[in-house]
């Protein structure tokens, strides 16, 4: 299938007083139409910056998309003018952010903010936009949407705000929805509702979803493919079952082992990853995970591994020692 979006060597940096922060370091991957892709990594791994780069929402300066291409539906988004880009945002690619309270404007009603996109992108009349917005609020499961249309964000609970954000994102039927930690600020039972909702809507309108999270548990049940990111690199990529059952990167393995499992036996110790992620201002010359890795050898210190295929099914990893990691995982 022809990919909906293809990232080629995307590199984003920030020029700060302390030096150049290498936030995203040449990442490449395709995204198929209708695919649900999970982007997993911890704070500072570049997962959000890479999404903002796709949307061209990196503030310049201090930020800079230094190189790369973002092919989306036949054109390079990085080459578009700001005006052309504005018609992509919201209409073709929509984004939902982590904190729904700070991404909604407190002085406008929720309904107005959803209608705005419809009037702007779909050239609807005010009345049409109102009707469609109420439909959307209903679709995302907000009770009494007629009444809620005129409510302000502060009158909504956290879960309802995130639903309203999703309604807004879906209003123009985008081809791609980027969800940046949309459930991190929510309680688990509400999180379950939101995940359920997005999966349902995704299959109904066949949009692609990029779900950015730090939680390997969440993506396990909802996505088909996963990119694991570390220090601005994709360190492992593959189908969800391969990532969990045929783990090839020591970082992915470490993340999985540091989670308590709900059916573990008492007295089980968690396996933590020692140390801290590297400073993005002075990245090590070799593998970025070198300092924390249990599998490291001399080669890892001096030579940075590239993403290489593990099999023909699209599972790839950037690790010199992935065969050993895979072996240890099976044992």
């Amino acid at each position: 299938m022809k990919p909906l979006m293809e990232l080629i060597d995307l590199t984003t940096r920030f020029h700060t007083q302390d030096g150049v922060v290498n936030a995203v370091n040449g990442i490449s991957y395709p995204l198929e139409p209708g695919e649900i892709l999970g982007i997993v990594g911890e704070s500072g791994c570049g997962k959000s910056v890479h999404a903002l780069s796709i949307m061209r929402l990196i503030q310049t300066p201090p930020g800079e998309i230094a190189s790369g291409k973002v092919w989306f539906d036949g054109r390079d988004l990085l080459k578009l003018t700001e005006k052309e880009m504005r018609s992509v945002r919201g209409r073709e690619i929509a984004m939902v952010f982590q904190d729904p309270l700070s991404s909604l404007n407190p002085v406008y009603t929720v309904g107005f903010q959803i209608s705005e996109a419809l009037i702007l992108h779909k050239h609807m009349s005010k009345k049409q936009a109102r009707e469609r917005s109420i439909e959307l609020l209903n679709l995302v499961g907000i009770p009494e949407p007629q009444k809620r249309y005129d409510a302000f964000p502060h009158q909504f609970s956290g879960g309802m705000r995130q639903r309203a954000m999703i309604a807004m994102a879906l209003s123009c039927e985008p081809k791609l929805l980027i969800a940046d930690e949309p459930t991190t600020a929510l309680d688990v039972t509400i999180q379950a509702q939101i995940i359920d909702l997005v999966i349902k809507l995704q299959s109904e309108i066949n949009m692609a979803v990029m779900w950015i999270t730090h939680d390997l548990g969440i993506v396990a049940e909802m996505v088909r493919r996963i990119n694991v990111m570390y220090a601005g690199f994709i360190v492992e990529r593959g189908d969800v079952d391969d990532i969990y059952n045929k783990t090839c990167h020591p970082y992915t393995l470490g993340l999985l082992r540091s989670l308590p499992s709900i059916d573990e036996s008492p007295g089980t110790k968690l396996v933590s990853i020692p140390g801290l992620p590297p400073d993005l201002i002075s990245l090590p010359t070799g593998c970025p995970f070198f300092a924390r890795c249990a599998f490291r050898v001399e080669q890892c210190r001096v030579e940075r591994p590239e993403l290489e295929p593990v099999d023909n099914a699209g599972h790839s990893v950037s690790c010199w020692r992935w065969r050993e990691v895979l072996g240890a995982n099976a044992a």
Partner: protein, 327 residues
């Protein structure tokens, strides 16, 4: 855990309401936010008691009221045989040396203008008569205990990562050799790989120092990992309390079941196979809790009785308490 162990802490019918006023001068009404509404449990010497629940369930209020940071509306808190609610402030201050707290936000809970050494020795200044050198030795010993380099004493909090700051918070809590440490969401602001480091450290310290923990969190799998027993709270009440395996294998309350099924499982096959219980709606406001059972607005099995009478919090199996008409 030793079953005959004596309770170190007894919380009896604890109630904490916060007054919320509405209206100005005319029609001034005072309403009450029922943060904690009749909660009772014991914590035994050397065990870890987990308190789980979602936003606004009152878990943090319980923790703070135990330390008398809030004065309870009614109920008793008996720590090592002494009723804390009746202690005068100066005696309570002495008591606090034996009960310490680790906070959620390692950024907000450390004073940015103090060095690590000053932060950790603050409790020693208040509660002990140690000399300067003795204090210095103690601070270095504490830093070593929590896995930090003792040479860091003169550094400031901003020079540390989140996980390291949480270690500083732990060192401060341990400075006075407390019996009880209340951990209020100590890991929820940390990255996954760092969470495991801090949880392992807490477990290790418990083994070495014989600490008793109350571990407050919303992450069910982490609470289950660290606790001996756990209490599930909802809207100011305990819905279910049991040994952690009992509660996992035989959850009786529909809320516990839903909570358990909503926990993400990091295993795609298991995650797909399990049946999720998706609860409808949001948590009601504690200003205006529902009549009858607190959970009736979202409960998948609610019947008429649940809207009329409040279920009794009772022991349905040995050491397994639950508040549901149908358990």
């Amino acid at each position: 855990m030793n079953v005959e162990a004596k309770p170190l802490l007894q919380v009896q019918s604890l109630v904490k309401y916060f007054p919320v006023s509405r209206g100005l001068l005319v029609n001034r009404k005072i309403r009450y936010l029922k943060a904690v509404d009749d909660v009772s449990f014991d914590v035994f010497d050397g065990e870890t008691m987990g308190l789980v629940g979602e936003t606004g369930c009152g878990k943090t209020t319980v923790a703070r009221t135990i330390l008398q940071l809030y004065h309870p509306t009614s109920g008793r808190i008996i720590f090592d045989g002494v009723d804390l609610t009746e202690l005068p402030e100066n005696e309570m201050r002495k008591m606090r040396a034996r009960m310490q707290m680790i906070f959620q936000d390692p950024y907000a809970s450390l004073n940015p203008r103090m060095t690590v050494g000053t932060i950790i020795s603050a409790p020693l200044d208040v509660h002990t008569a140690l000399s300067r050198n003795e204090k210095q030795d103690k601070v270095q010993e504490l830093l070593r205990l929590v896995g930090l380099n003792p040479d860091f004493v003169n550094r400031y909090p901003h020079e540390f990562s989140g996980g390291q700051r949480q270690r500083i918070g732990i060192a401060r809590a341990l400075a006075l050799n407390p019996d009880l440490v209340i951990c209020d969401e100590p890991i929820s602001s940390l990255d996954v790989s760092i969470q495991a480091q801090v949880v392992n450290l807490l477990e290790e310290l418990q083994d070495r120092l014989g600490l008793t923990y109350i571990f407050v969190a919303h992450d069910l799998s982490m609470v289950r990992h660290i606790s001996d027993r756990m209490a599930v709270m909802y809207l100011g009440k305990i819905m279910e309390l049991a040994d952690r395996n009992e509660i996992y294998l035989r959850p009786l309350h529909p809320y516990t079941k839903a909570l358990m099924s909503a926990v993400p499982i990091a295993n795609p096959r298991k995650a797909r196979d399990r049946k999720r219980i998706i609860l409808k709606g949001d948590i009601p406001s504690p200003l205006n809790p529902p009549q009858g059972c607190n959970f009736n607005t979202r409960c998948p099995i609610a019947q008429e009785i649940c809207f009329k009478s409040e279920p009794e919090y009772r022991e349905v199996a040995p050491r397994h308490m639950v508040a549901c008409h149908f358990a």
